[in-house]
């Protein structure tokens, strides 16, 4: 028996390529959902707006969109760094700062939805 070993590449390319497209579709769907919900709400005031976000389905949909957004933003921003930021140290610092910011945004989103 021989083991096929692949000795080149980091092997996150296809996964990230697919993640970028799946998350894009989730974000497009959420955009249409939110747009539809707003358009079909008469008298959009605090009560109807907060009421919409107090439902379980809207919280689930919003959190799914936030997760898709975080992942999508990570892949996209990392690609920009890989193209333009050559010094490894600088790139690492930017990547870590980006990951920290994105996870922070996700936590913030949970807190916002938690309170509604």
């Amino acid at each position: 028996m021989t083991t096929r070993r692949i000795v080149v590449g980091a092997h996150y390319g296809l996964r990230d390529w697919l993640a970028q497209r799946v998350s894009a579709v989730v974000l497009l769907a959420y955009t249409l959902l939110l747009l539809g919900a707003v358009l079909f709400t008469r008298d959009l005031d605090y009560g109807s707006w907060a009421g919409m976000f107090s439902t379980v389905w809207m919280k689930v949909a919003t959190l799914l969109a936030v997760l898709a957004l975080i992942w999508h933003a990570w892949v996209g921003v990392r690609d920009i760094y890989m193209d333009y930021i050559k010094p490894t140290g600088v790139r690492l610092v930017l990547q870590v700062a980006t990951v920290v910011a994105l996870i922070g945004y996700a936590i913030w989103a949970v807190i916002i939805l938690w309170r509604v």
Partner: protein, 138 residues
């Protein structure tokens, strides 16, 4: 071998320099591509924090809802929103084109050129309509 050396040097285009960016004429698909990247960066740097802040103000309480109203009602707030609206619309419309290209829809040269021009046209039109709505034209 002497023939090759005698050949007229052909122009070479390697990585273009920063000072050449303005004079470098991109095809429509190239314009869509670089704007997709720029709009993505804008959405990350400005869009996510601003959208979350607005979501927080609009949802937390009646009182914070008033502050949300004040922010989106102010001229600076509207200008930031306008930039973000353009970035989001361009990123989404160009993104749909990329998803179609991935499905091998419109990958021929002519079709891809037309779809790139369509992306630019649809983005300008949608952004203009939303800008009119934002600034209270209707």
């Amino acid at each position: 071998m002497a023939d090759i050396a005698a050949q007229k040097a052909r122009p070479q285009y390697r990585n273009i320099g920063v000072n050449q960016i303005v004079s470098y004429r991109l095809p429509p698909a190239g314009i869509v591509s670089i704007l997709h990247r720029i709009s993505g960066a804008v959405l990350f740097l400005l869009g996510i924090p601003f959208a979350l802040y607005l979501l927080q103000e609009s949802l937390t309480s009646e009182l914070s809802f008033q502050s949300y109203r004040a922010i989106v009602g102010s001229i600076p707030g509207k200008l930031v929103l306008l930039v973000l609206i353009w970035a989001f619309v361009h990123h989404a419309v160009a993104g749909i084109r990329y998803l179609l290209l991935d499905r091998h829809v419109g990958i021929q040269k002519d079709a891809s050129r037309s779809s790139a021009l369509a992306v630019l046209g649809i983005t300008v039109a949608l952004t203009a309509v939303l800008a009119l709505k934002l600034f209270g034209a209707f």
